[in-house]
Symmetry: C2
Subunit: 187 residues, 2 copies
């Protein structure tokens, strides 16, 4: 694969400015309700307050000083042995289609595998508006595990996607790979 012409810096530590940045990013997509935007921000605040114990981990992509271009939030699902949830993944609208979501998704898979995770779940809506989101997950190797009819609202199904992480990847120490990968990781 040719190098991406757009190459943002990726970082994983959470800073005090990130809750507001995540809010602005998530709002900018136009895909999330006010309640969802609140939750997106809340998870960042939880991680700031409680650290790893909160169970929310992040990958932030930015090309400028004070702006996020994209981010993902994931974490272990409580009371499971090794299942993880990709809670959020969002890319600024004008940067969609450049492969940034895919890069974040791969980074998340790498980190989850390093933490011993074996399955990664992602939920989305069955509504027409989310067609691109569903195609994105399928493109990233997720498959549909279940459909819960009318879950979000009448005529708004919940689609549960899952990606089973391969054991070769789990045996790999991804950290030593990061330098040779086509991702740039900068703190």
């Amino acid at each position: 694969m040719a190098a991406l012409s757009y190459r943002p810096a990726l970082r994983e530590d959470v800073s005090a400015e990130d809750p507001a940045r995540v809010r602005r990013l998530v709002e900018s997509t136009g895909f999330f309700s006010a309640a969802e935007v609140d939750i997106a921000e809340e998870l960042v605040l939880e991680a700031l307050a409680r650290g790893d114990a909160a169970g929310y981990f992040f990958c932030f992509a930015s090309s400028g000083e004070d702006r996020l271009d994209a981010y993902a939030c994931y974490g272990p699902i409580p009371c499971t042995a090794s299942s993880y949830d990709l809670y959020w993944i969002a890319v600024r609208p004008q940067l969609q289609g450049l492969g940034l979501g895919r890069e974040l998704s791969e980074r998340v898979e790498q980190r989850v595998a390093q933490r011993g995770g074996t399955r990664l779940y992602a939920d989305t809506s069955g509504r027409a508006q989310y067609e691109a989101t569903r195609r994105f997950y399928e493109h990233c190797g997720y498959h549909r595990a279940a459909v819960l009819s009318d879950f979000y609202a009448p005529a708004d199904d919940k689609i549960i996607y899952v990606k089973v992480l391969d054991s070769d990847r789990r045996r790999t120490d991804g950290r030593s790979h990061a330098g040779g990968h086509d991702l740039r990781s900068e703190g």
Copy 2:
């Protein structure tokens, strides 16, 4: 249906003693992991600390002064229009099979319908040990909406049950029925 010979008092307010009582009850069933027991207690603490804003509601059954015989915990699923989760339902082992779980389940349905809920979800494990739990949900009118393979652990599937609440019930003001129902409600 003939009156139950065992008729505990049902109450819905949460008291300061309930977190420890719920812990003892949930532990007594032998069905839940240490992490699950912690979460069961945590939800009661959340409700005590934040009231209705916590989003966790309870129905407690007891026949003695300081002991719970059974309880259920339910609440609205965030970011859904009218879906609820039956997070917990547990009955003390020596009182199982007397219809107490069914009574609690019906009370929860009534309350959810009064709050405008239209769908009630309950998750359980696909393992052999949970056969009675699955039969219980099916007996209460739930049906299987989905199976997530290996969700909890390898060979430990998650079974998602759902019960669609009928609109006749939603139009009923359950409160005015409580006196004539075969449940006793005492605060």
